[in-house]
Point group: C2
Chain length 608, copies 2
């Protein structure tokens, strides 16, 4: 080989050019066009605000009286009727409106495109203000004017970094007064709150408060959450962020399934983010076809005990092992532990004991003393369950408690608890083959060779938690378009003087239908920390849904024949770049999930 | 909104069609063309084996005498001269050759394309055999004929699932005899070993053994490892799998950086796979520009103590906090702990004590007894360090030992150790501001307002380990092309009757130069478990390399100005889909890293 001539290269300086969110990829996605629903396209081809008309559909509150009592002003105005966005043929120019927007709660992919949508629809005659660091910034009045040049930097990028976010809840009288102060000080005509169920509940309360105070400021919510629990049937198939997060997790789960099949020895236990609902797990399961995926809602509905759950999992592991497949992926929803009936009962008992005997338990010096005190005060069944938990989980249940003195359920390392119990049971199955194999009810038929092979197998486990890496990924082309449409919708609602609505988009398969959902129509009474509260109901997995049924109909086959798939990394170009979540396509009755249609692609222009 | 007419959809059955590695993405990437170096393109445009000629370049062994003693036969044949692949204008058809291929060690993206390359170059006149489950399968003679139809299913897909892999080392006389038996039984003319440094060392020994036994069977290695430590300067810039793994990790680290900046509260500590070298961490750092990235080799070279390291990290954290940036990403190479001088010294002392007093320590009943026995036998400095370690790390050091009685260094949760020490130090900095802030040497200038802001800040940490999800990802377009070229090269070498070489490709920026590197030229003497062994030298990060210098020149600015970037998910289509690792481009002196050139894209056809 001849020696390479030393070349003068400017490569190191090129690398410096990619600093600060200017990777090759980020530079390229900023230039991608975005689909725009025809409702927002004026005769001149430019972005134009939509008008809104009432539909025939109105929400019926679960607690109509209670809701009317808490939200008299907004209920009187909206009558819980769903609005539909329509194209304005000769729009009356609205000028001089000042609209503030804030992010609330955990980040989700597409947030920046909400801002771009807002800016585009408000146009140069109105002002978009950004609220720094979420609801707390709104209380403090920490606002700044958002410039078009700034948004050109963040279009199609991930995260909530442009504004920041936080988790402050706005619910006290003094907080409402602070909001009022901010509205008056900054002369706001609208507040857009981008958030999940709690944040949109906040929006409903602020809307009602400002109406009551006769302050003409629209409050509009935008449905955001990766968890997928912010949805409303045909009116709102899903929130933005879910598609990106589930696709990122699906990429990684697909890779782990490949890894398991390559190294031919690992069982990868993967806990997936999603506080309550198992919607993320269901989507990832439909995408990747893993050996096992647990759905909390099914476990609660069927009242499956921890023992039964472990037995079911070990049965699948054993059936695979008999076929020589001693590896696989097991998906576990983050919220699982609260849905297992006996653990849920134990936690309730513990919370009661810990509250009732707070001082005694605090005074007892050692963990052993505390346990000695607590055990006799539990029911025998719960005591037995707790005694069988790994030591550090037991310790955590007693010592780590939240601000209200309750057990920190979310801190329980469910995947580790399951691994320990599964190891124990799998070992028993190996040690007592006569009990588990052969002819007869509940027994598994197996040849002597299979059993010999089984004896030689050990259970190598690896546990993973997929969460944060999915919240701030670059939005998929779907989330980018969906979030942009939500921004256009929310901005249009403010310009039309509407308040107390959530922006919504549906019909992802036929150009996007633009809706405004009355927030009070989504609200229900929920027991929180022992008290009834008016909150927006979380949308959970139902076992009667087409998406769950598709999963349930195939899971055994996926397990036994090791039929996993790898959906691969999210593509922004090429044939696989226009997908929507499989669960959404199934539950909405779309013909396919390969190609969404949210309007024609446009290079969106916006100016100050 | 009008009710949607219930549509008959075949969506559930479409989902079934994507089972078993037939996701939309997998179906699409199977159809992607692959670049092919002109060396392998015959006059008819079809894949043709390369010929090989000697170059002027020969390896000089570090221990020439020793190597010649261990590998007399292969050394005599190859004379450590590097071969270059050349295009055969009128190739003599080679027929009837039987070539076996196996994967060894952890999976890496591109493995399946090695098989495709082999099949394509062997053509229908020769036979490709797959070895099941790695070296162990070779010993057992577990081989099967690989059909073109099977490879059409795995082209461009990730993992080693088609054959499986394992970590068996082949080094004893009886193992060599088993290999001989397999070669004779299956009438093999060649064995291709796809693996890292250990596996290619195996290849060198097997080549020598078969030569000695006068068995005419070529043994060729293929450089595989995600770690990036299997490289040989200009002759072999990198192994296959590194590009994909680092790009997957970079995607996730970029997302975590976005997440940190969005939630504006988290410090994400990310441990990155890579047993010894920090090459993965260096590439991910150049891709993502994180707040902090630790490079083990630098720490060892500069003899940076744990205390100093923690102080340096807390200094960066503090400087960021003074600017209001209380979040960020800290990258930690998996192998770090062995490079920290004082921990490395402690481990050596412990290994000595544990070996010398094995029986005493075993007999002592409790951990406390054992510690009481061990502490006086350490140097005071090591004893102090061990006493300051978190309890469970201390326990692990004493109780968990490998088959040779040594401390299991890889099990030490470095990121957790660092988090604990950093928390402690960061709290001290907050509590003793007079000591750390103000004018004077080593002190940080700060205004009273800044210090007040600092007091209000807490350190929220999240730890992550990125490893398995990067080993079996879909190969990047670069790894797909590179691995394919390595397969073509290895197949050509067998057809040319060469043995004891490693297939290599270089000049990624100008069509790809095909090389064969004599394995004995890569081998050196290394102290392993107290004994000298002939092994292939690991390629580590050097602080004089252009890639390290580019990192070192910019890291302070990246930290203080929070200049992170998100390289995004790996693209297989579009403007960002043809990149190579930045470290490779820098160290090879390429003009850029945006677009590789490994030849013209072809739809590769292969038949049985």
């Amino acid at each position: 080989m001849t020696a390479r001539k030393s070349k003068k290269t400017n490569l190191p300086s090129e690398i410096v050019c990619t600093e600060g969110k200017h990777s090759l990829f980020e530079n390229a996605i900023r230039k991608l066009p975005i689909p725009v629903s025809s409702v927002f396209v004026g005769d001149d081809g430019k972005i134009t605000p939509a008008a809104f008309e009432e539909t025939e559909s109105a929400f019926v509150c679960k607690e109509q009286d209670q809701t009317e009592k808490v939200f008299p002003k907004t209920m009187a105005k909206t009558r819980n009727v769903v609005l539909r966005g329509t194209r304005q043929t000769a729009p009356k120019a609205v000028k001089g409106k000042r609209v503030a927007v804030l992010f609330s709660g955990g980040p989700a992919a597409g947030g920046h495109n909400v801002l771009v949508g807002l800016k585009a629809v408000l146009g140069k005659d109105n002002t978009l203000l950004g609220v720094r660091r979420g609801p707390r910034g709104l209380l403090k009045g920490d606002l700044f004017e958002v410039k078009a040049s700034q948004l050109k930097e963040v279009v199609n990028t991930g995260g909530f970094g442009f504004l920041g976010t936080d988790r402050t809840k706005i619910k006290t009288q003094s907080q409402f007064e602070q909001v009022k102060e901010t509205v008056l000080k900054h002369r706001l005509d609208g507040i857009i709150i981008v958030g999940g169920d709690d944040s949109n509940t906040n929006a409903a309360f602020i809307a009602e408060y400002l109406e009551k105070e006769s302050i003409p400021c629209s409050v509009i919510g935008i449905p955001k959450t990766i968890d997928g629990d912010m949805a409303a049937g045909k009116n709102l198939p899903i929130s933005f962020g879910y598609d990106t997060a589930t696709k990122i997790y699906s990429e990684l789960v697909g890779n782990l399934a490949e890894d398991a099949a390559s190294a031919v020895k690992y069982w990868h236990f993967v806990k997936l983010m999603g506080r309550t609902a198992s919607k993320i797990t269901l989507e990832v399961a439909l995408q990747t076809k893993p050996a096992i995926a647990l759905i909390s809602e099914e476990i609660a509905e069927k009242n499956i005990s921890l023992t039964q759950l472990v037995d079911d999992i070990v049965r699948i592991i054993t059936l695979r092992r008999l076929k020589g497949i001693n590896h696989g992926v097991i998906l576990i929803p983050e919220g699982l532990v609260e849905f297992i009936p006996e653990i849920s009962a134990l936690i309730q008992e513990l919370n009661k004991v810990l509250a009732e005997y707070e001082r005694d338990i605090k005074d007892l010096p050692t963990l052993k003393n505390k346990l000695e005190f607590i055990y006799p005060r539990l029911t025998p069944y719960s005591a037995q369950l707790m005694a069988a938990l790994p030591d550090d989980i037991e310790e955590m249940l007693i010592l780590d408690r939240d601000d209200h003195g309750n057990v920190k359920v979310s801190q329980i390392e469910t995947e580790r608890l399951l691994i320990e119990k599964i190891r124990y049971k799998a070992s028993e199955v190996k040690r007592h083959t006569e009990k588990y194999f052969g002819e007869g009810e509940g027994k598994i038929p197996a040849t002597p060779e299979q059993l010999q092979q089984l004896q030689a197998m050990s259970l190598s486990t690896q546990s993973h938690f997929l969460g944060y890496e999915g919240r701030s990924g670059k939005p998929t082309t779907f989330d980018a378009a969906f979030a942009f449409a939500l921004g256009l919708t929310a901005g249009s609602l403010v310009l039309a003087g509407k308040t107390g609505y959530m922006a919504a988009v549906t019909d992802f398969d036929k150009g996007g239908t633009i809706l405004a959902l009355p927030l009070t129509g989504l609200i229900t009474c929920e027991l929180r920390k022992g008290q009834e509260e008016m909150v927006i109901e979380k949308s959970l997995v139902t076992t009667s849904s087409p998406s769950f049924k598709a999963f349930a109909a195939n899971r055994e086959k996926w397990a036994l024949d090791d039929l996993f798939s790898s959906p691969g990394p999210i593509q922004h170009w090429g044939p696989a770049s226009r997908q929507i979540p499989i669960t959404v396509a199934l539950d909405q009755g779309y013909a396919d999930y390969k190609t969404f249609n949210l309007g024609e692609e446009k290079t969106v222009d916006f100016e100050d």
